[in-house]
Point group: C2
Chain length 226, copies 2
């Protein structure tokens, strides 16, 4: 493990930054893949670059063009919805195929540089119900990697952790949460209203820590058992 | 099936053109995905565009940047090797992650437009030993699609067909083989020496048909049971 190469899918958000620090603490030589897939703003890409540079890690920004998607996460499409406990369906922020595309590029890079691990910050607990953040999806991916005769494994250490646990773990690892960016909207300060801000704020509250970011709106505590 | 939308991964080569004509004959409304992944030449992309237009099919050319790959199929990298019966390893023309990236974009498009099928011309018989052209790889992919709760299926009708059978099928379907491009090298005429030319020439010979393309070199018949 020590000195072994690994690819990390890195968005500059809370989860992937925690994973980056976790993998670094385990001694991996990390190669960061950052994706520009037409997000509404460059704030998360800039956050990712800043954190990669801070850690002196090589990174590559991969441009992806998905003109067919109607996701509200893509610039010029629908408005970003605010968090709602009543929502039952997959929200409009879901980008079809996104994690699959990210993992396929990571596979290409990992095979090319001889990395045996792909780290991803996917999280199935405090999240928005995206199908590509669930354990079954990652088990299926392992089968693809096996069928290719690679010895590459996907490592998703946060998959079953709550946001609070992730923040507690990251805090121990020294994650610079003030440099991370989670908000879907991308204003001067995080909005505090979108799903991503909601889960992040609740996570910090439950972890008993204060989020170094200043929000435009601070959400009330929402019971996790709604 | 009739009138149902489907995505076809389309390179303008012999296999994917045959698949396109097969899917069209089954009544699907096809959306072609053509990839510009840094190939040494534009000939196959131009062939794909020409055939898509001939069939009045919508197509999208997706640009992919894989700066880390050392594949000889990518411009500016190693020389394309000539076919050799003695070769045991995966040849240098293999692009790590390529079919996985193609399929992940196809998944994104299929989910976005409500297509339930992704057609791919992968072929495990007369091919160069690429790990992403084998049946096990496609079975594993079906599990990924299932885990995402999509009803999308990958259809790889040529997976277990010999090149000769593919050519016989395509000939019945009226595939314009004179418009297809298979050669890895991309000269004025196909080289006749690379793996792709080798399998194509042998396929036409075994199918008892003449290839409408004129080769720079015509390979001798190589026994399939070497």
């Amino acid at each position: 493990m020590k000195g072994e190469r690994a690819v990390v899918l890195f968005s500059g958000g809370l989860d992937s930054t925690t994973v980056l620090y976790l993998a670094r603490s385990q001694g991996y030589h990390l190669y960061c893949l950052i994706f520009a897939y037409g997000q509404r703003h460059r704030k998360e890409i800039r956050a990712a670059q800043k954190i990669a540079r801070l850690n002196k890690l090589p990174y590559k920004i991969v441009k992806i063009n998905l003109p067919w998607t109607k996701s509200s996460l893509i610039a010029g499409k629908k408005k970003i919805p605010s968090f709602s406990v009543r929502r039952k369906n997959i929200p409009s922020t879901y980008v079809p195929g996104r994690n699959t595309i990210f993992l396929s590029y990571a596979l290409s890079l990992a095979e090319s540089i001889g990395a045996k691990k792909i780290f991803i910050g996917a999280n199935s607990i405090d999240f928005s119900g995206y199908p590509d953040c669930r354990p079954a999806y990652y088990y299926a991916w392992q089968k693809v990697l096996k069928a290719l005769d690679t010895r590459i494994k996907i490592v998703a250490p946060l998959l079953k952790m709550s946001k609070a646990r992730i923040i507690q773990l990251g805090s121990k690892l020294g994650v610079p949460y003030h440099l991370t960016w989670s908000c879907y909207r991308g204003g001067k300060n995080p909005c505090g209203l979108c799903d991503s801000c909601h889960w992040r704020q609740q996570g910090f509250q439950e972890a008993g820590r204060s989020d170094p970011l200043k929000y435009q709106h601070v959400a009330g505590t929402v019971s996790r058992n709604f």
